[in-house]
Subunit: 111 residues, 2 copies
DNA sequence: GCGCTTACCTAGAACATCTAGGCAAGCATG
DNA sequence: CATGCTTGCCTAGATGTTCTAGGTAAGCGC
């Protein structure tokens, strides 16, 4: 792992990105992955093995809720949507992200 | 941990920040911590329990080297400095950081 | 010599993410 | 109708980083 390409997500950002993806409309797991992939120009690639545990985490916390339905391609799929608490949580996480990334950039820009 | 203040570092950024701190001059462990604390206006707080394992990691990879010396306050201290490989590594990590944070901000800014 | 601070070090837990699979069902093709 | 591709969900286990929570030692001021 010394010299891996490091496409991995920064830890702690996955939850935030998922919440963001659900901000517009409910999506199923597969949809979340392709949504993020598209938006980030493939810079962010979420593995399913990371996604589903994250979704359960979010659901357990009450930030998203799920409902079985039928996908656009006529397969059964579990649709996740934001709860009110989830919207609040999203605001909190983005604020933390901004603060942390600002601090890091500050350090990087110092002489 | 659901509602902790989350002052924790984003995973993967610690190494980069340490390398950055050593860019100007060799520092001992204690010095690195206070340096980062000062530069980030206390937004980044590195615990010693995180720092030392990270330093050993960096040394093992050949990105920093260490030498025993005497601190400004006349105590013995181990001074860490960047190697040539460490400088290269720092460039790689900052590039990765920039790419990832750009991608995340892109996603956050989407409608 | 006592307490404070600087300074180093470690073991263990917690946690997120990735790897690497497996399962099932729709759909198209022959 | 069988085969294969794709969509879609799910899990176990490994890996790696960071944090918690300690301990040790030595200089300095009083």
């Amino acid at each position: 792992m010394a010299d891996d390409p490091r496409l991995e997500l920064l830890q702690g950002t996955l939850d935030m990105l998922i919440l963001k993806a659900l901000q517009r409309e409910p999506l199923h797991g597969f949809g979340i992955v392709s949504h993020l992939d598209k938006l980030s120009a493939a810079a962010v690639r979420v593995e399913q093995g990371s996604l589903y545990p994250a979704l359960y985490r979010l659901e357990e916390q009450g930030w998203v809720k799920s409902e079985w339905g039928v996908s656009e391609t006529n397969r059964k799929a579990k649709f996740y949507s934001l709860t009110a608490a989830g919207r609040k949580r999203f605001a909190v996480e983005t604020e933390q992200w901004r603060r942390m990334s600002r601090a890091i950039n500050l350090i990087l820009q110092s002489t």
